[in-house]
Amino acid sequence: MNKRSTYLMLSMAVLVSLVLTACGGGAAAPATGGTIKVVSDLPMTGSSLGQTQTIVNGITQAFEATGNKVCGGKWQIQFEAHDDASAALGKWDPDVVTANAKQYAADSSIVAVIGTFNSGAAKLMIPILNPENLAMISPANTYPGLTKPGKGEADEPGKYFPNGTPNYARVVPADDLQGAVGANWAKDLGATSVYILDDQELYGKGLADVFDASANEIGLTVLGHEGIDGKAADYKALATKVNELNPDLIYFGGITQNNAGQLWKDIRNVGYAGLLMGPDGIYEGAFLEAAGDAAEGTYLTFGGVPPSELQGAAATWRDSYKAKFGSDPEVYTVYGYVAGTLLVDALERVCTAGGSPTDRKTVRDAVFATKDFDSVLGKFSIDANGDTTITTMSGSVVENGEFVFSSLLGGG
């Protein structure tokens, strides 16, 4: 009796799984058409949502422009926006990034990932997607080491590509440009001495290091370079220390989510009257809100042109975005749109060449083969490293609680 029941149980389990197997008699996806899936991987919990939601909007807009179809309507694009942040951390969470990456790798209907937003997250995701030849197009990562040999650590970016072929491209210029441009701008603004702070993260510290090196190169005096604790309640003591050295300009490499607002307030609170400069990580509405009056007069560098200054095709895009979503795009929104259109273009080329857009390898190669792609930002190509050939940089300044475009910087 007892033995029998064990067998019964086991055989029942086997039976059920057999039934399940046998029932899956549906037709396999036909090779000439069907649905392909594209996902975005951005932090959609916490205060970056203000920025990332508009990127998702931009991507949606790019796909909807073709009716969510490619290859003459044969393939339907199904777009899903995934969140790589967690409530626990309030920003991107390595746990979630890894889980997401594994999910994308395993879901063979996904042909490309648009993401990530944070360079640290990209470092985790690329090595998981690389062996699957799954293409990644980032609308926002700017850490140089992700693509450029020699610009990051010694073994970068090779260590992210276990199978030897890069699968990661980005449509924003990297920080080796932004940091240097920032230092040059600081000099142009008349600063002779700078103090550098960073939030110790991959993005912020990387940027601050480049700024530091460039500043030394062009003859600015670097009075100090210090990492801040992004969770501290206040920075009065630190700000006093910096203020005592009386730098012409204080540069902060970091993101809003690491307490940039409080830092700004306390720097102004201790009576510092000099210049303040930050990167695109604080070029967002959330920063203005957090820093309040203290943000006034802050100089910001940004890889690209801010939405208000877009010309020609890009301006048309901006207006259509505003009409569609009822709000102004944030600075990275246009890159979401460009990433989307670039992917559509690559998929079209795959079809034209007779390939299947469900084949990840082909799609990846098509993304990397992008040449003189006519985007709303102008023509650009993806080079062998996966970088965009656009290197426009712009500087903005905060006036009356708004970002105001100031000038185009370096690059070109």
């Binding site: 149980m9 029932c23 549906g26």
Partner: protein, 536 residues
């Protein structure tokens, strides 16, 4: 006369899951609910033979499974339309790389049939083995459990339920909770900085198996080193703090738990110099000149932990004769690896608990003075508890680092310590079954239910509620403020407070605790798994 209340309670709790997930979850949850019900009825049955007990439990099993199915049906026909999803979307079955599409209705039918059948079967079986002698019963229980744990991941992969990431996280936390249970549950020392040992394990494993300082030892070696370093750290923390009792100890461990992540975050420019040699008396200025003997990293400061950037990438485990990418994007090897680690830990902890040291822990917990009078060395015993607790978090840390393939100091904060503490307290201090159940409940809620609830609620708001609400402030409140994920801290807090007030011994208390707290109202030594499981 059959009493169906326990079956209804279990069914209701389980139906809540299928109400949120629907689809294939009906099968898994139906099976589990049936098994729970069977266990419950079998234990309180007055019948003697396994056959009679089993037959008696079939109806309750059917009831519980039926409620689970009902939850699933409600999900399909009420929840899905209410959140604005089309009912007819198709599902996939995945066999390796090939995906097979299935009709939604078809999936629902199969799940319902399989859920009810498996539920009744599980109930019958779990009840009937209660009539067997103690050791056979235990063996059967273990076999069934092992079979379930073996089949589940494959079923999950084939049906594409996407629970695996959450399940592995739950497992990691269970391993942590088992370790903390030694310190808090067995030895009665409140440790509020347990995440520190987790971090120490993870960083040890990360440093020894990554390009960070150019050491890449094999994972199978590193995991032992991580455990050993963890236990040494436990000793190091334990030694000076043993004089302290109760809340003072809790505070010191809390301080330690806050310091450790700061240390890992900031060890990015390491150089060691001997300080005495810097003092000089003639012809030099110790303040201005750095001229003391350098001992370590003299050519330039060493970046030991990579700070906030984290150690990345950390090597994966390699098994000879298997593909190098076995532990890659695939979840299954990770699932089984952590499962083996947990089973191994349970085995070790069990042995310890039943040995001399285990009894010493309990004696210390109950009355330190009396225990030391009886010849137990309190210092040694407490140190041992700290060291052993830290060992298992060392395992968990090494696994975690390799699984995520990177580690960052920000993940080891105070809330991790409290979540693990929550699990131990909810399940039942000092009882491993309880701790595991507590772990599944807390982390399952955190990683599976809350996100799913958030998604559904968001859909429900946009699809059903918002079209009928015109007041802008109310609209904003409904969409923005009512986010279940934002209430996760509240959940942990409520668990702690309510458990302390209502049921300080936990859901599944250890036999000793129960005997203490309910001395007199029933004979001690009742089997640990009982109606309590059902009640929640």
């Amino acid at each position: 006369m059959l009493k169906l209340r326990p079956a209804l309670t279990i069914g209701l709790a389980a139906a809540f899951v299928t109400f949120l997930f629907g689809g294939w979850s009906i099968v898994v949850i139906g099976l589990l609910a049936g098994a729970m019900t069977g266990l419950n009825y079998g234990q309180r049955s007055l019948k003697r033979t396994p056959r009679e007990i089993g037959q008696e439990a079939i109806v309750p099993g059917l009831v519980a499974a039926g409620m689970v199915v009902l939850g699933g049906v409600v999900f399909s026909y009420v929840v899905t339309p209410a959140v604005g999803k089309p009912l007819a979307y198709s599902l996939f079955l995945k066999f390796g790389k090939t995906a097979v599409r299935m009709d939604y209705f078809f999936v629902l039918m199969i799940s319902i049939v399989a859920g009810v059948l498996l539920g009744a079967l599980a109930s019958w079986y779990m009840a009937s083995i209660q009539g067997l002698p103690e050791h056979t019963r235990r063996a059967r229980l273990i076999i069934v459990l092992v079979v379930f744990l073996l089949i589940f991941p494959f079923f999950e992969q084939i049906t594409n339920m996407q629970w695996m990431a959450a399940v592995i996280t739950v497992q990691i936390f269970i391993l942590l909770a088992l370790g903390l249970n030694i310190v808090v549950g067995y030895a009665g020392l409140l440790d509020l900085g347990y995440a520190a040992f987790f971090a120490i394990g993870a960083y040890t494993a990360g440093l020894l198996n990554s390009p960070q300082i150019d050491i890449s030892w094999n994972f199978w070696l590193v995991i032992w080193i991580a455990a050993a370093v963890g236990s040494v750290a436990g000793l190091a923390l334990g030694a000076p703090t043993l004089r302290l009792r109760g809340d003072y100890l809790a505070i010191v461990t809390l301080g330690f738990g806050e310091i450790v992540p700061v240390v890992f975050r900031n060890l990015i420019t390491v150089t060691l110099r001997e300080p005495i040699t810097r003092i000089c008396f003639v012809g030099c200025d110790p303040v201005k000149e750095v001229r003391n003997a350098c001992l370590y990293a003299c050519t330039g400061p060493l970046d030991l932990t990579a700070g906030e950037k984290g150690i990345n990438p950390i090597g994966r485990p390699l098994i000879p004769f298997t593909p190098e990418n076995l532990f890659g994007a695939n979840y299954l090897p990770w699932y089984f690896l952590i499962l083996v680690l947990i089973l191994f830990s349970i085995f070790l902890i069990r042995r310890m608990h039943q040995s001399r040291i285990g009894r010493a822990w309990m004696a210390i917990r109950e009355d330190e003075l009396a225990a030391s009078q009886m010849g137990i060395d309190p210092v040694k015993t407490k140190l041992m508890a700290f060291a052993m607790g830290a060992t298992f978090s060392g395992f968990a840390g090494a696994f975690y680092g390799s699984y995520i393939s990177a580690i960052f100091p920000g993940v080891f904060d105070f809330s991790v310590s409290v979540i693990v503490l929550c699990m131990v307290i909810l399940g039942g201090l000092g009882n491993m079954v309880g701790v595991i159940i507590g772990g599944i409940l807390i982390m399952g809620t955190d990683r599976l239910f809350l996100p799913q609830m958030a998604t559904l609620l968001k859909g429900f708001m946009t699809a059903t509620v918002l079209p009928n609400v015109s007041h802008p402030a109310l609209r904003d409140f409904l969409t923005f403020s009512l986010d279940p994920i934002q209430f996760r801290l509240m959940l942990f807090g409520l668990v702690l407070v309510i458990m302390m007030i209502v049921r300080p011994e936990g859901l599944v208390p250890s036999a000793e605790r129960r005997a203490e707290l309910h001395a007199g109202d029933e004979a001690a030594g009742a089997p640990p798994l009982e109606a309590e499981v059902a009640a929640h």
